[in-house]
Symmetry: C2
Subunit: 118 residues, 2 copies
DNA sequence: CGGGATCCAAGAAGATACTG
DNA sequence: CAGTATCTTCTTGGATCCCG
């Protein structure tokens, strides 16, 4: 008779895990960048993600790499360049990003409506 | 020729909006609690969400209320009680929570496999 | 270019005590 | 019970300099 409760708890804890993995101010946006725009270089990420500094970018990229969500590749170009991309595992986050994106788009429409309603 | 780029940017910004609205260490877990378990009281939320203190709980609940995602109702019981629940708008976040939950569950299975593989 | 190291300011968050 | 107020601690993150 507590079957439902256990399922809910399971679900709740699962959300908590995702929270932990995507904790940090910028991780979701890094994933979103790589998910939406595809493979990017360090500098490009910094330009895309508004307001992020080199320190935080490096730190969160490393944490994401440790968790196996992104892959870091050093290219042997004249001045060295590094590209980042989602791993196969990181790509499985796409549905979450997509859900967030579509919700955000609807949210914008809602906000616009509210403003014009005044 | 920059049509695709604009769509991507739109999408990216939309994700960013969601980030902002769900910013803060506990907001996602509060939403998840109310989504998974349904209407809850202040104290119940504090018990469910491991580690949260009264200060953060109050603060983030207020912010969520301001954003129209949750509804706060004061019940006139002997010792006063307050219940929180998702608004119709807050309920639209359910798909995101569900995606996170199912990803988290698969993530757990993966971690378990990795450990037993050793 | 892609970072690492250091220093420092600001804000987020915890603990505790208190109130209606 | 449901918070608020206060104080302290910890984390975040910005700025800067440096290195391969």
């Amino acid at each position: 008779m507590e079957k439902i409760s256990n399922d809910c708890l399971q679900k709740f804890k699962a959300v908590n895990d995702v929270k932990d993995i995507l904790s940090g101010k910028w991780k979701v946006m890094i994933i979103a960048s790589l998910s939406v725009f595809g493979e990017k270089r360090y500098m490009e990420l910094q330009r895309i993600i508004d307001g992020i500094g080199t320190k935080m970018l490096s730190k969160e990229l490393q944490e994401l790499e440790i968790n196996g969500l992104i892959k870091r590749t050093v290219m042997d170009t004249k001045p060295i360049t590094v590209k980042y991309e989602l791993t196969a595992y990181g790509l499985t986050l796409t549905p979450i990003i997509d859900e967030m994106a579509s919700w955000g788009i609807q949210h914008r429409e809602r906000v616009i409506k509210e403003m014009s309603a005044k």
